[in-house]
């Protein structure tokens, strides 16, 4: 079926359709344009998300001090320039939501799955261009609604990005649980629809539209990662959708799925028999796999970039694929480690501790394989490579503390403290952001036909790398000292007075890290228009996307789609003249293909 479809497409593609500005740049069905739309929307949301974090970091370092910037940006929510506690919670909530879903799910996975899946497997486009377009525009719509929620009278959602009821369900509980929360839920419901359409498209495309010779075991690891990520998304996002819908019912139609026995603001509410713990189960059934939805694409990108720039095959291809699959499977049975002290049966805690710590095994295999790939390589330290190595570093540092948090016993005292914040920011936040940056530096020539400036890239990486550790390493200490997260200030507890100077250090590093992103932004926009024009295969890479012409065209390749004769990692293969052999080059006479 796949070949037939491809053939039809091939003939179809001979005569060009007339494209208008609208069909080319706005309602485009071309995967490359959709990828760029995802990236730019994602980066825009990223600017907002990061800026929010800087605002609340200022409040944490210098609590209840007036800042002119607060007055300008927060207006009536910062009377005399002092941030209001409700706004603090709103900033924390929207920062989390935007970074996890809008930047690191849609911005990362949406961009690179769209760009790379057809190009790297040798397909003219996604299985359904129309669904792909709808998927992007739903994402865009949900972004607009999320941004709009910042401007409602009582403020945006402020119940934490996990929006646990009853706090999120009752407008009486906090101002952010009114209109702001309604918009949050609507935005997320649309976001999930977008994500599901995208994921289904990715899965079908990878399974059906691979070019001749592109067997599953010859797929680049990027595609494996995107493919498995899409499967996790299809399995777990619907559960969050159901949680969101049930919460909407509780909020607006008086049902009691998550609520029971509530007395608030002098009034007994009618809710009977529901349980907030049920919501927690539903939320984390997506919430934990979400970590891997964010992280796996970044690891896939890293695998590709490290192999290309080390001029070496990725070490242990089979083990890498197996560990992606193992992580994906385990990720769906570990959600309870977010709920050790939620009041669920302690026996469940034991089960979830066991499954959670098992994830460390495939993760360790991946880390060791990356390190071995560097060994005796001929490392081309391009900015993309630096970010990939940086990712491995933060993935290790952040992942290791997971051993503490995944252990139900140890979780008792560090649960919901800054220790958790430090852990997940390193292991999924910073790591996935590094993956995003690595991907942008590496595939910028493919997307825009121009190169980004490497020196600005180096400055961007080194300042970010130092500042990221500067922010999150000391944060572990704040958490181990027992300071809970989502505290507007710690001045209510004299016991925490000696943490004030750590908070200042963290905030200063955060501001530096934020400033470094301006270098990236400048480089990105400037290079888009004035960057040096690229050659076809600037990184001397093996994968198929670099056999397509620099100039974008509908259908990707002018002639026939290249056939594939080898895996993607024949770098520095003995007996070859060049230190790379692209996938479409047939085996030489007597050349052996590695068995995977």
């Amino acid at each position: 079926m796949s070949t037939a479809a491809a053939q039809v497409h091939e003939e179809d593609h001979g005569h060009h359709h007339k494209e208008t500005f609208i069909t080319k740049y706005v309602f485009s069905q071309d995967h490359k344009m959709i990828a760029k739309q995802y990236l730019i929307t994602g980066l825009f949301m990223g600017i907002i998300g990061i800026a929010m974090s800087l605002l609340f970091r200022l409040q944490l370092a210098w609590p209840e001090q007036p800042f002119g910037i607060f007055e300008v940006l927060l207006g009536k929510w910062a009377p005399d320039g002092v941030m209001d506690p409700n706004v603090y919670l709103a900033l924390v909530t929207i920062h989390g939501t935007i970074m996890v879903f809008f930047v690191l799910t849609a911005g990362l996975s949406g961009t690179f799955s769209n760009l790379l899946i057809p190009l790297q497997i040798g397909a003219r486009d996604m299985a359904s261009g129309l669904l792909n377009m709808i998927s992007f525009w739903l994402f865009f719509l949900s972004s607009v609604i999320m941004i709009a929620s910042l401007f409602v009278e009582a403020g945006p959602a402020a119940a934490g990005w996990t929006i646990y009821p009853p706090l999120s369900a009752l407008p009486q509980a906090q101002p952010g649980s009114g209109m702001g929360m309604t918009l949050w839920l609507v935005s997320m419901a649309i976001f999930i629809a977008s994500s599901l359409l995208g994921s289904l498209n990715y899965i079908v495309t990878v399974l059906n539209l691979r070019t001749k010779g592109m067997t599953m075991t010859r797929l680049p690891l990027t595609i494996w990662a995107f493919f498995v990520t899409a499967i996790i998304g299809v399995v777990s996002f619907p559960v969050l959708l159901s949680a969101a819908l049930l919460l909407i019912m509780d909020r607006s139609f008086g049902t009691s799925f998550f609520l029971s026995d509530i007395f608030i603001q002098g009034e007994v509410l009618h809710y009977q028999g529901g349980s907030p713990v049920l919501y927690e189960h539903l939320f984390w059934f997506l919430g934990h796999p979400e970590v891997y939805i964010v992280l796996l694409p970044a690891l896939g990108i890293t695998s590709e970039i490290i192999a290309t720039n080390a001029r070496k095959p990725i070490f242990g291809y089979r083990a890498m694929v197996a560990s992606i699959l193992a992580i994906a499977f385990l990720s769906t049975i570990v959600w309870g480690h977010h709920m050790f002290i939620s009041g669920m049966n302690p026996f469940l805690g034991s089960v979830f501790t066991f499954t959670t710590l098992l994830i460390a095994i495939p993760s360790a295999v991946k880390a060791f394989n990356y390190i071995t790939t560097l060994w005796k390589g001929n490392l081309q330290l391009n900015p993309a490579m630096l970010f990939s190595i940086g990712l491995v570093s933060t993935f290790i540092t952040g992942g290791l503390t997971g051993i503490i948090l995944g252990d139900s016993t140890l979780d008792i005292n560090v649960h919901d403290t800054y220790f958790v914040v430090a852990h997940f920011h390193l292991v999924m936040g910073i790591s996935a952001l590094y993956g995003l940056f690595a991907g942008v530096y590496h595939w910028f020539p493919k997307m825009f036909g121009r190169m980004m400036n490497k020196n600005l890239g180096y400055v961007h990486f080194w300042v970010t790398a130092v500042a990221a550790y500067g922010v999150f390493f000391p944060m572990h200490f704040v958490g181990m000292a027992g300071l809970p997260r989502r505290y507007y200030t710690n001045t209510a507890f004299p016991y925490f007075d000696d943490l004030a100077n750590i908070n200042v250090v963290i905030t200063v590093f955060a501001l530096i890290a934020g400033a470094a992103q301006l270098v990236f932004l400048y480089n990105f926009i400037h290079s888009m228009f004035y960057g040096r024009e690229t050659e076809q295969n600037p990184w001397r890479s093996n994968t198929l996307e670099w056999t397509a012409p620099v100039e974008h065209m509908h259908g990707n390749w002018p002639g026939a789609i290249p056939h594939v004769h080898r895996w993607a990692y024949d770098y520095s293969k003995p007996g070859q003249e060049e230190d790379f052999v692209p996938q479409h080059i047939p085996l030489k006479e007597g050349e052996e293909e590695l068995q995977h």
């Binding site: 919670l89 509980a173 360790a364 560097l374 330290l381 008792i412 200490f477 016991y495 000696d498």
Partner: protein, 354 residues
């Protein structure tokens, strides 16, 4: 002042970043204007990779030297030492692995930086090597899992018994209350429906028709006798809260509509803790900071901060609204005699509603 200073530092850092970028720009040879890394880039960035390894070690050592004293507050419950042992063992393993893997990663990035004409080693697989680094984590984690589960079961198995003190922790936006079972040792039935009875004097919603509830005692400051097991029953009247008692290595969410449980045995009284050398040092350090901050306040015509005296804390650790950051209760661990004396002074529910 601090703000002005920090902003100056930021500006200076900005300028230095700009300068570094210029140096990078100038160090490029004029001939090549491609944006792909050349030998020079590889060498410089390789060296920076090595420097970065030293930075990671440096910030680790610095943090421990400077802030090591804030880690894990002094334990004051019987399972506290068990908890702390498991924590330090896990930490030892983490530091060992972290030190070695970061060293390999960054050292390789430095050592094998690219040179023109050099060829990498074609090395795609080694089953034995991979088996080794699969099996070692398996064994290590199996040990940690078993140790962890053993401790977890030990901490979490709450058994009702005659000797234990039963205390209800009651959470609401934004304060805590505690209810003792009284002489009969049984907490009276309660529900939010009863909160409005007796003109709001029924603070935790006790069912006045249940005789078990009449001798219950409701307080705003939690007192516990040392050396006796305390079984906590947690309730919340509005949203999720979490009862976090870091000194006792104890935490449990308070969930509207259900009763959750946690138990521990305090093993140091508040007075004993105040004499503990670590706590004394900590209090001294905090009071130094407070004295420093007071100077600024007094200069602005405000009142100076009270000196800090050590007390056990109960904090809310689940986001619950605007004043989440200030939802706290003092815990006092008494000797059994002091506890009985204190308890005798409290009003029972029957007395409150009269």
């Amino acid at each position: 002042m601090t703000i002005a200073l920090s902003l100056t530092i930021l500006v200076l850092i900005g300028i230095s970043v700009w300068q570094i970028a210029k140096i990078f720009e100038l160090s490029q040879s004029k001939k090549e204007n491609t944006q792909v890394a050349n030998d020079n880039d590889n060498r410089y960035n390789g060296q920076l990779m090595f420097a970065f390894l030293l930075f990671i070690y440096g910030i680790t050592l610095y943090s421990f030297w400077k802030w090591g004293d804030v880690l894990l507050p002094e334990a004051a419950s019987e399972h506290g030492s068990e908890y702390d042992n498991l924590m330090w063992i896990s930490f030892a393993i983490i530091f060992f692995v972290q030190t070695i893997t970061q060293a390999l990663l960054h050292y390789f990035a430095y050592k094998y930086h690219g040179k023109k004409g050099q060829k990498a080693l074609f090395y795609a697989d080694n089953d034995r090597l991979e088996a080794i680094w699969t099996i070692i984590p398996v064994i290590t984690l199996a040990g940690l899992i078993l140790y962890g589960l053993y401790t977890w079961t030990d901490i979490m198995s709450v058994e009702e018994n005659e000797d234990a003190l039963v205390v209800e922790l009651y959470a609401q936006q934004f304060n805590w209350k505690a209810r003792y079972a009284g002489d009969d040792g049984v907490l009276g039935d309660a529900n939010v429906r009863f909160l409005q009875d007796f003109d709001g004097r029924n603070l935790v919603g006790i069912d006045a028709t249940d005789p078990n509830g009449l001798d219950d005692v409701i307080v705003q400051e939690l007192h516990l006798p040392v050396g006796r097991e305390v079984i906590f029953k947690m309730r919340s009247q509005d949203v999720l809260h979490s009862a976090y008692m870091p000194f006792f290595r104890a935490q449990m969410n308070c969930v509207p509509g259900m009763i959750t449980e946690f138990a521990f045995t305090p093993n140091k009284t508040t007075s004993e803790m105040r004499l503990d050398p670590d706590v004394v040092a900590k209090v001294k350090k905090i009071n130094k900071i407070r004295a420093e901050n007071s100077k600024d306040l007094v200069a602005n015509g405000e009142e100076a901060l009270e000196p800090y005296v050590f007390d056990y804390l109960l904090l809310c650790n689940k986001i619950c609204g605007a004043s989440h950051y200030n939802m706290q209760m003092k815990i006092v661990v008494d000797t059994p005699e002091e506890f009985e004396k204190w308890m005798a002074d409290q009003q029972t529910f029957a007395q409150v509603i009269q």
